[in-house]
């Protein structure tokens, strides 16, 4: 184990998989950067958040492909390469840009295997940075996993820590299905212990981060560390809870959620996305449908409001569910206040 940032863990996974399998290729805007620039450097960017740094030096421009700003064509490039035997890792600089590429994702990539009779395989990983926290405004801060998890044929994962960042990216690359891999941009510098050497973490399955007796708190991404902060506050009041890191929003690990709920009887879902038709709604529905007899009170959803992500520091802070709001919601679930 070595302490590393999420950014470095992701970078390590890319090196690991590209060394292991020559069919793994990386493509996207500025994944190396510098081509045609006056400095002559071909590792000038390494991706907007530095995740692909150094790849061009070891693997060259045929495997680390700088593309024009053409999101449809980037995903198309990955789709066609995957159908014909490659394992592309495509980067969309910001998850919000998925709108430009949506047809290639939800009408093409997600449907190849099914529509073509099960014979087609499209092992594409689409990496995207997501989430609020950088005051990047309404078109650079969304989470989008709710929207994409609604599409059959896509797997959607949201790592919350450096070990999962490394292990899940490697697993996504080896997976034979399309995987939407969402990296929270406010977590890139978060550090944690990461297994050394070749490391794979399962794509499916939620993780019980901590155990408690009073409630089940289901969350993901940046809301995991925020919920841990809430836990520290509530512990002083004698409230403890099961904290479940979803990791994957498609598929959802229903078993772990329902098992925990059967022990605690109270459910709080913490989700950074907008509330309508969200992962939070989905988990509430699962509880209502399959865990109704365990529920001792209403399910509480802690989400962003039904607004675009606002810009100003004060507004964005209000928009994102923070530790205080999460703690208040859990307190309410447990004490009914």
């Amino acid at each position: 184990m070595t302490v590393k940032s999420v950014r470095d863990a992701l970078n390590e996974a890319l090196f690991q998989e590209m060394r292991r399998d020559p069919s793994v290729i990386v493509m996207g805007e500025d994944v190396s950067g510098g081509a045609g620039g006056s400095s002559g450097s071909r590792d000038a960017a390494g991706g907007i958040f530095g995740v692909t740094k150094g790849l061009i030096t070891e693997f060259g421009e045929h495997r680390v492909i700088d593309t024009p700003i053409s999101e449809s064509a980037i995903i198309g490039l990955a789709n066609g390469a995957a159908l014909t035997g490659m394992r592309p890792v495509a980067e969309l600089m910001f998850a919000d840009f998925v709108g430009v590429a949506m047809d290639q994702i939800y009408n093409q990539l997600a449907k190849f295997r099914y529509m073509f009779g099960g014979k087609a395989k499209a092992p594409v990983v689409v990496r995207m940075s997501m989430g609020a926290g950088m005051n990047a405004g309404a078109q650079h801060s969304q989470t989008i996993y709710s929207m994409l998890s609604a599409v059959p044929g896509l797997k959607v994962v949201v790592p919350s820590n450096p070990a999962d960042a490394k292990g899940m990216l490697a697993a996504a690359i080896r997976d034979d299905d399309p995987v939407i891999f969402l990296e929270h941009k406010a977590l890139y510098s978060t550090k944690g212990e990461v297994p050394d050497g070749e490391y794979i973490a399962p794509l499916h399955g939620a993780n019980l981060v901590q155990s408690g007796k009073d409630a089940t708190v289901v969350t993901l991404g940046r809301m995991v560390p925020f919920s841990q902060k809430a836990s520290a506050k509530l512990a002083e009041e004698g409230i403890t809870f099961d904290l479940i890191d979803l990791r994957s929003t498609s598929p959802i690990d229903e078993e772990l959620i329902l098992e925990s709920l059967s022990l605690t009887g109270r459910l709080v879902v913490v989700d950074e996305s907008n509330p309508m038709c969200s992962i939070a709604s989905e988990i509430a529905a699962i509880a209502a449908e399959k865990g109704f007899s365990s529920l001792r009170g209403p399910v509480i959803r802690v989400t962003a409001p039904h607004t675009p992500v606002p810009f100003a520091r004060e507004l964005e802070r209000m928009y994102v569910p923070g530790p205080d709001r999460i703690a208040a919601a859990i307190r309410k679930a447990v004490k009914g206040e």
């Binding site: 593309t67 024009p68 014909t84 035997g85 490659m86 073509f116 299905d177």
Partner: protein, 325 residues
């Protein structure tokens, strides 16, 4: 480009196969047994066949909603295609695709496509694989005039140029963009527009197999020399509507009749190879009869094919798990 007697016979058979497949579907569609939308390719046979006769299973194509001709020309089994169009469990895509989503990856056929402009970005990705393999294989996207107005196609053309990919963009101009004339829909000259992206354009008469075949030979020489992508533009017509059932109110009364008399790729081919060429009409007549009987049999077996059940519906969404019924 010189072609052997075998080549010519095969090309004619492929064109006849497409024509017969589509004419038969046009008739069968009226019975109501075929579900969904069917877009017929008849009238454009020389383009699909003139291009695909150059290709092997190592080469790739992407197709369109009007995809039957491309599928047959690229080697998809017409019988399995017919079963697919009838929605049978033993169809090429198990009845989950239908007319607009026929694909056979093993044949290098990356799919018909329900989205206009959906195919070219995918074919650009396949060209990346061709380049990586370095075996001279190429990737071809088919599209109509309508698709030439999609931003996805513009993106795909620029991407292919930037990455110097072995990729050929085929534009088949059949005169219409769905229910509206191409002259109205395409706001600039399509050849100039394509050249503006940096793609050399090879032009062909889309009613003439030999013209298309030659243009494709030139296009292949260009991409295989490592000079990057190019385009092939061919004019043709479609004998039927945008989809089966289209009343075609946008067409003058006798337009198709006149085109069938004066501009028919199969008649043109026949005349060319029998009058000045190596074949006699009897050989071609024999192909016509054989293909007609084969297609008839395909329809018969498709009608009798097994209907898919829930296990077909739920399978193959993911590789490693599936939803419960």
């Amino acid at each position: 480009m010189q072609q052997s007697r075998t080549d010519i016979l095969r090309a004619y058979r492929q064109m006849r196969m497409i024509r017969e497949f589509e004419e038969k579907l046009h008739i069968e569609n009226r019975s109501g047994e075929i579900a969904g939308f069917t877009h017929l390719y008849a009238g454009q046979e020389a383009i699909a066949v003139g291009i695909c006769e150059h290709l092997t299973d190592r080469d790739y194509i992407s197709s369109t909603h009007r995809g039957h001709g491309h599928c047959i020309a690229k080697g998809c089994d017409p019988r399995l295609m017919m079963h697919e169009i009838y929605g049978r469990a033993d169809g090429l895509c198990k009845g989950r695709g239908g007319s607009m989503h026929i694909a056979d990856i093993d044949k290098g056929m990356l799919g018909a496509n329900g989205i206009v402009g959906g195919g070219p970005p995918i074919a650009v990705g396949a060209a990346l694989t061709c380049l990586a393999r370095g075996d001279g294989s190429v990737s071809v996207s088919f599209g109509g005039g309508g698709s030439s107005n999609q931003g996805t196609v513009f993106e795909a053309m620029n991407m292919a140029v930037v990455l110097k990919l072995p990729k050929i963009f085929v534009f088949e101009l059949n005169g219409y963009s769905e229910h509206t004339g191409e002259t109205y829909m395409i706001g600039s000259d399509i050849v100039q527009r394509t050249e503006g992206f940096g793609l050399p354009v090879f032009q062909a008469d889309g009613f003439d197999y030999f013209s298309v075949h030659q243009a494709m030979a030139d296009a292949l020489e260009h991409v295989r020399a490592g000079k990057g992508p190019c385009a092939l533009v061919a004019e043709a017509t479609r004998y039927f509507g945008h989809f089966e059932g289209d009343p075609q109110n946008y067409r003058a009364k006798d337009e198709v009749k006149g085109l069938r008399e004066t501009r028919d790729a199969l008649l043109h081919f026949r005349a060319r190879v029998t009058e000045a060429g190596p074949l006699d009409a009897a050989e071609l007549d024999a192909i016509d009869s054989e293909v007609a009987a084969f297609i008839e049999d395909c329809v018969t077996s498709a009608k009798a094919g097994p209907t898919p059940g829930p296990e077909v519906m739920l399978a193959d969404v993911y590789a490693d798990y599936q939803d419960k019924p």
